[in-house]
């Protein structure tokens, strides 16, 4: 098979056949075994396995040796979900944990449980697996009793063996099902194990993946190889929407192991037999691009956001008549505006993927959080049938949302299609920082009115966030560049947690959905709820101060939620909160303070409260967060150590985002393209974190990957106010902004 790859030849070199370039490329393709990571390559000979969400066989298999395989559509993004899913299944089936293996995010094998986002893996994905396991357990108990010739009610199961409760000979799962199909619909009412009998769920089980990760034995996406694989690098446009005018790879052809280019529209990639050859070629190839300068002036970003066309307004919460309440004569009024900068995901390992096409079927290995969705997007881009595309999850560097993994997968898929060979695409650092989709800029306006006793009469908030087209997906960059079919990009910013938990008599929360936003928008950890909770909880602090009430007391007074109140009281005890703590007198140039923030995530799930202790250098404006206290209630805890790890990570990452991080750009492109221009928090600035977990074994388990982040920015802002009297209303709280705010006082 020999094909001409480029849509058109190089503009300054003769048009030529791709596979003659370099003369060394062997075109024959062998169906070689994967060279690494057997875990992630499924047996392709076996008959198709069901991936139906309502079938036990969608989620579970038990082989003749009694080993359990869990098929999870939710994937471990470094959060410990793989271990948690194994715990849930092992517990519900009553088998030892080491007998359970988890296959994740393989579109051929795992049910589509939705994107791994929104802190939904345990609460939705894990509960689907729990219900499937409960259904299987009931069936195995019945079958075991029948085989043993005893009454169903007289048997129990322990370590995968069904046996009479009174003692006697049992029969193991392997014998009962032994690799066969359950052929059972998941019973939503299948009796669940009583949490008081748990021996695996709720325990701080060590994570399955860690020994391999600390010894170099783990196969990350970046380590995954296919035989005969080419390496590719994408050559990026000069500006976000430049057109490729000409290119010349004459000098690349002098490089050893150089293969050629793939060009389609404005998509240009260079290929090598070795990774270094592809990198060297990407630095050697000559390109000319059209000028484009369509980005807003960063120094006027908020004016740009405020003046962006509004496609529609929407009331997100309406209680009483806020407009009328705000006009109350003699009321004390408070107003404030907040904004939250554009952030990048900042994965430590830039995105990477491998793709190949065999007999017209495309397989793509990717660290995508959304393999089922990616499959549809790639199929659309390449005008293939989704059934002819298989996406297989291989864990990569943490992504914290929809970063560049999917775009790298699409790059690899397109190049594999164009070359007919397996292809590995690795993004470079400047690709990840410069071209992954961004958390959009968000702007808020608030007003409140208080009576002379400090009661809130009315509360109104308005948010300016990008509108949401109908598709959930973030458009594939590859498809945009190559002018191939693609979806409209989903903005990623989310209205959740903008509505408030407080019982004010008049509330109005309005979203101004914006028609445009400067960068391809995406979700980044705690999307929307991070920005919304920053603004809400900062303004609550401002209103409490105007009312002359302690911030903790103010929240408790206006909450009608015993579970929330219990959490706040646990937090106060953890941090030894002193009511109406006056500002601590600054010692020398350093002022110290503490601030509080609270959220009930999306108003329907995980409760988090946090107190931040900060030191503010009054001269330099530099803020150091010295300690974070977190009280956390996500219902039933699956793995308390995994949960603590997540909470600590949420705090540290969000302290970084709050104090330091801000995308920079000129009129043409992102200019913060490395760790020097987009710095993140380093070890010496990391706060100590104290965590109080409230476990509720008999309640539904809720998510924990995001909610703690939501309370971090406001806790810091409120602590800076407590220390200095200055209100920080614009994230990040850079030294320059802090100095300016202190000077305003």
């Amino acid at each position: 098979m020999t094909r001409h790859i480029s849509e058109e030849g190089p503009t300054s070199a003769p048009r030529r056949d791709f596979f003659k370039t370099g003369g060394a490329l062997v075109v024959t393709y062998s169906l070689g075994a994967c060279t690494s990571g057997p875990r992630v390559v499924a047996d392709q000979v076996a008959p198709p396995k069901t991936v139906a969400l309502d079938q036990v066989d969608g989620f579970l298999a038990i082989d003749a040796k009694g080993r359990v395989t869990v098929y999870s559509g939710k994937v471990d993004l470094g959060t410990g979900i793989q271990t948690a899913m194994a715990q849930i299944a092992a517990e519900e089936l009553s088998v030892p944990l080491d007998r359970v293996t988890v296959i994740q995010g393989d579109t051929l094998l795992t049910p589509d449980q939705g994107v791994t986002f929104g802190s939904q893996s345990i609460q939705n994905g894990g509960m689907q697996i729990r219900q499937a396991a409960a259904t299987a357990r009931q069936a195995l108990l019945a079958e075991g009793a029948a085989k043993l010739g005893v009454e169903r009610g007289t048997v129990g199961v322990r370590d995968g063996v069904v046996a009479p409760k009174a003692g006697g000979k049992g029969i193991d799962y392997g014998t009962l099902i032994g690799g066969g199909d359950f052929r059972l619909t998941v019973d939503p009412k299948a009796t669940l194990k009583d949490p008081k009998d748990y021996t695996i769920v709720g325990k701080p089980i060590a994570r399955i993946d860690i020994p391999d990760k600390v010894t170099g034995r783990f196969t990350y996406m970046h380590d995954f190889k296919r035989k005969g694989m080419l390496h590719a690098r994408v050559v990026r446009p000069k500006a976000m929407e430049s057109t490729l005018q000409s290119w010349n790879d004459s000098d690349c052809r002098k490089l050893p192991d150089y293969v050629g280019v793939v060009k389609k529209g404005n998509f240009l990639a260079v290929l090598g037999h070795t990774e270094w050859a592809a990198i060297a070629a990407s630095r050697t190839i000559e390109t000319t691009w059209s000028d484009w300068a369509g980005l807003p002036d960063q120094s006027k970003l908020w004016e740009y956001v405020r003046s962006t066309k509004v496609s529609k307004d929407e009331d997100l919460q309406k209680v009483g008549d806020a407009a009328e309440a705000l006009k109350t004569a003699n009321a004390k009024t408070v107003t404030a505006s907040y904004n939250f900068a554009i952030h990048t995901h900042g994965s430590i390992g830039p995105s990477c993927a491998v793709a190949e096409i065999v007999n017209g079927e495309l397989t793509c290995w990717s660290a995508s959080q959304q393999t089922h969705l990616l499959r549809k997007q790639i199929a659309k881009m390449l005008s293939m049938r989704p059934d002819d595309v298989r996406c297989i999850y291989v864990e990569g560097a943490g992504c914290y949302g929809r970063n560049g993994h999917e775009d790298a997968a699409a790059d690899a898929a397109l190049i594999a299609r164009e070359t007919g060979l397996p292809v590995r695409v690795q993004w470079m650092r400047e690709d990840e920082h410069g071209w992954d989709p961004k958390g959009p800029p968000t702007l808020f306006d608030y007003q409140a009115a208080l009576d002379d006793k400090g009661n809130v009469l009315g509360w109104q908030s308005e948010v300016f966030i990008p509108d949401r087209p109908k598709d959930l997906a973030v458009a594939l960059l590859t498809a945009e560049l190559a002018n191939l079919p693609h979806e409209e990009s989903h903005p990623g910013n989310i209205q959740g947690s903008l509505a408030i938990p407080y019982t004010f008599p008049n509330i109005r929360v309005i979203a101004h959905w914006l028609a445009e936003t400067p960068f391809r928008p995406s979700w980044i950890r705690t999307p929307g709820r991070l920005q919304n909770t920053f603004a809400n909880e900062s303004f609550v602090d401002e209103v409490a101060a105007a009312a002359g009430v302690d911030p903790l007391e103010f929240r408790l007074k206006n909450l009608n939620d015993p579970r929330g109140a219990e959490l706040l009281e646990a937090l106060a005890e953890l941090a030894t909160w002193k009511p109406r703590a006056a500002q601590v007198a600054a010692s020398g140039d350093v002022a110290r303070g503490r601030g509080l923030a609270y959220v009930k995530y999306d108003l329907v799930r995980t409760y988090v409260g946090a107190i931040a202790d900060v030191e503010v250098n009054l001269k330099t404006g530099k803020v150091l967060v010295t300690k974070f206290y977190v009280a956390h209630d996500c219902g039933q805890i699956i793995n308390p150590d995994g949960l603590r790890n997540q909470i600590e990570g949420n705090v540290v990452q969000t302290v970084s985002r709050t104090l330091i991080e801000e995308l920079t750009f000129d009129r043409s492109r992102v200019t913060s393209v490395d760790w020097a221009s987009y710095p993140i928090l380093k070890f010496p600035e990391v706060p100590d974190v104290a965590v109080k977990l409230i476990d509720r074994p008999n309640e539904k388990p809720w998510g924990a990957g995001e909610p703690t982040s939501a309370v971090v920015p406001a806790a810091i802002a409120n602590a800076i106010y407590n220390a200095t009297g200055a209100r920080m209303r614009s994230v990040p709280f850079t030294p320059a902004k802090v100095q300016a705010a202190i000077k305003l006082m």
């Binding site: 470094g78 860690i210 600390v214 010894t215 970046h222 050893p256 270094w276 430590i348 390992g349 010496p684």
Partner: protein
Amino acid sequence: MKISLNVNGKSVTITAADPHMPLLYALRDDLGLHGPRFGCGLGQCGACTVLVDGSAVRSCVTPVATVDSKKIVTLEGLGSAGKPHPLQQAFIDEQAVQCGYCINGMIMQAAALLQTNKKPTDQEIKAGLAENLCRCGTHLRIVRAIKRASEIAA
């Protein structure tokens, strides 16, 4: 050109078409090691860290030709899952991993640190790892793991 390397106690010869190719690609692509990782290619994040004659070096910006005849140790060379190095064991004990992509650098940097400072304080550990980036926010566990390893080794 042929370049001789001493990696994890073994002598190996690789053929490098370009002597300026960073060591990282020789380790990952020619020798198939998974420990050292590509993070930035700029020496800014530390994910690619290896020991060269006992010092922590950013292999993504170290030309392969410059380490000819030097002793290179990667994460795999410290220990294995069956026989982990005290640092690796301490990272397991403290569960000091989230995605783990940076962890190679954390362990290799810590190995170099503990060679010169056997009993570092928390502040010294933080200062010693100041140029190693972690995005998941595993810092507190990493510090605890290094402290634990230093106490076991002492």
